[in-house]
Amino acid sequence: MITGYAIAVSACAAGVAIWAFVLVVLNRAPEKPLLMGIGGVEALLAIQVVVSVVMMVGGGRPGSMITFLAYLFGALLVLPLGTVWALAERTRSSTAVLGIACLTVPVLLLRMVEVWGGASA
């Protein structure tokens, strides 16, 4: 777990979330550029998984392995699941769902940094 990388991914996710909420205010359904932004954040999260696994193979240990893995893969799932739920109905509410899904990413990454740093829960 590299704290600087987690901060960068969190900033990207927060940026996409703000973008989504601006579109909500403008009364827009999800549009392709926003979905591509979410795809970009998802790619960064996939890299996060690879980096974390490599560091664990290299001897790094979080405060609680099960908690860390739950956050690691939870963060990987939240955007795809949120997107599926959002796109079942294309309204401004779908855009809001995408924004909320993006907002959970910085929260999950913050908890991952804490658990990697030795927190047990």
Partner: protein, 144 residues
């Protein structure tokens, strides 16, 4: 891209929106996040260190069940599921108020924060606001 019309515009005036349509989808998304968070947290707490703080951990598990039920019921259609959602949101509101009050006055019993401790302060008070919004949404979507 053109702005989308209001979600309820296409429906007949007398018909109530389904709980899982329009703004309801946002509500269910937030409920789902809390359901997953509370369930996984309670599972880890109970599996790894139940002896440390049994009361908050049991309450965490109870909260998890309530969130799961509310998420599922809101996402379904029909009068029965609407009633299940009403019960779940009501229990949730009562739970966060009772547990929140207990945790403020008896800190010793709540050494480790559960989702409803201190009225959900550790979760930005979302656990306190969520059932209120849920109940307001259920009033809007009450079956005729």
């Amino acid at each position: 891209m053109a702005p989308v019309p209001d979600e309820r515009a296409g429906q007949p005036a007398r018909e109530r929106p389904a709980t899982a349509s329009g703004p309801g989808r946002v509500l269910i998304a937030v409920y789902a996040i809390f359901a997953v968070a509370a369930t996984s947290r309670a599972a880890v707490q109970i599996a790894t260190r139940f002896d440390e703080a049994p009361i908050p951990y049991v309450l965490s598990a109870f909260a998890a069940v309530v969130y799961l039920l509310a998420t599922f019921a809101l996402a379904r259609t029909g009068r029965a599921w609407w009633q299940v959602a009403l019960v779940a949101c009501s229990v949730e509101l009562a739970g966060v108020l009772v547990v929140g009050t207990l945790s403020v006055f008896d800190r010793a019993a709540f050494p480790d924060a559960a989702v409803w401790s201190n009225y959900g302060m550790g979760y930005l008070f979302i656990p306190l606001v969520l059932p209120v919004i849920g109940l307001l949404w259920l009033r809007r979507t009450r079956p005729a």
